[in-house]
Subunit: 327 residues, 2 copies
Amino acid sequence: MHILVTGAAGMIGRKLVDRLTSAGELGGRRIDNMTLFDVVEPQAPANAPFSAQTYASDLSAPGEATKLIAARPDIIFHLAAIVSGEAEADFEKGYRINLDGTRFLFDAIRSVGEGYCPRVVFTSSLAVFGAPFPDQISDEFFLTPLTSYGTQKAVGELLLADYTRRGFFDGIGIRLPTICVRPGKPNRAASGFFSGIIREPLNGQEAVLPVSDSVRHWHASPESAVGFLLRAAVIDSGRIGPRRNLTMPGLSITVAEQIDALRRVAGEQVVGRIRREIDPDIERIVAGWPRDFDARRATELGFIADRSFEDIIRTYIDTELGGKINQ
Amino acid sequence: MHILVTGAAGMIGRKLVDRLTSAGELGGRRIDNMTLFDVVEPQAPANAPFSAQTYASDLSAPGEATKLIAARPDIIFHLAAIVSGEAEADFEKGYRINLDGTRFLFDAIRSVGEGYCPRVVFTSSLAVFGAPFPDQISDEFFLTPLTSYGTQKAVGELLLADYTRRGFFDGIGIRLPTICVRPGKPNRAASGFFSGIIREPLNGQEAVLPVSDSVRHWHASPESAVGFLLRAAVIDSGRIGPRRNLTMPGLSITVAEQIDALRRVAGEQVVGRIRREIDPDIERIVAGWPRDFDARRATELGFIADRSFEDIIRTYIDTELGGKINQ
């Protein structure tokens, strides 16, 4: 089996490639070959039991998508995207990469013909939804994005469903929850604090909490996100029907519950490193985000959320901190 | 005021231009100039109290959208589209005209800059919805098109909302009900019989009814459709908020109710020209179509549906048959 991953240099892409490299198989089929693509050259997997090509380019450049598809990968994980903030700051770049790039990839697959019909797993986003929401968003709630990024992801979902219906490929779109705990350095994303208030205290550093403790949000660990991708790659798509885009299950919890979980796992001293400093701009942005979903379809299709936020924290400590908390 | 109409040679386009020509104004502002665009050359309005240019081209050809926008029309009615059947039969043409053509038009407007921000009225379609449905579809029901045409219209809606949010233009998308009574000759569209069972008997001809009398559907007269377009052109868009695409109000009635109305308006002899001959293919297609909507937002915003199907029939007789029924 040959697997293509676009966006392979990103955080989720790297974790996906690591997991596939360890497993050496997917859905009971041996992996023979992986193609790893991103705008910067992805790292080749170390000691992989299969051959791997890495490849840096721009998916929206003429001919690039066709090159990626020439070897007819059996499974395509399409993770590549300009992130929300950049797509908002640079209108043309966001549409070029997120909409045109996705469409070029889909059209490159379509153009192969000869019965070629790979599984395509597309990562969509909660940004396809726009306030106001009900308290819990159902699987039939409409998409009214309030960002260009969310618009581009929603268009990708529509194209995925239509190209699948036409038989050009066998696509599944998955809307990932906010990834928490996101490893790495603090960043300036408005959602950054959801990870920051766990990650920085565990690293012995102060973290700023810019919103009230009562703010509720929808979370999944990086490990669960990789699990969703793998599940989407092997699921019998005959069970899904024509509605090919699924809200992934997650944990709907408040900031207070996040902090309580951190206290139980790491103690009061670590929690003491969270400094409360309300930022009205961030509060306003976060107020426009979804808080909870009834992700019934995905759950019935075997996508599994994290069991608890304590589990999420413990997994972060194990995978990113070598099991050690900086007290 | 300068008005641009794309798709001006189509049935709704012609009726819209006729109405504007008679009025000579829109929303209390005098019309100075109209540009009429289509893939075939639209007829210039006769005795118009304003100047008019007609123009035949392909909106998806390089530079054509820019030419249309060069004179900076104040109001743009974007009706041009490949119809559903053709978009399904010719995948690439449908995407080229309905998606790329629309995006080129939107980008041509965006590229003007200098504070140019016209009203754009975009005709979307019930084809953005896909079965299964609730009995009555709310304004918050999700878009899951089951045709390429419906996909292209749904993408147009998303782009319209995002370009409006970014301030490139002031867009309103309206999802028209099935137009009934559609004037002209019988056609082979699966929905053709909804008009055919009224139009042909009134013309002294037999009409075939290929589905059961209990089939329910969502109708608007051509006159109401033009009314929706005009309302969308002048409404204070500050009242709409970021959700710029609206399901238009209509009449949800069964075929039996259509026939009863025809009997009341035109008598038993005319109704006798309807021949029942079930077509399982058409029954199956129609079973996948929406039957009823709660078009609350549009109604609150002043869009007005036809009062009764009898009214629809009488208007058809007045406008298309010169007031005379062929008994």
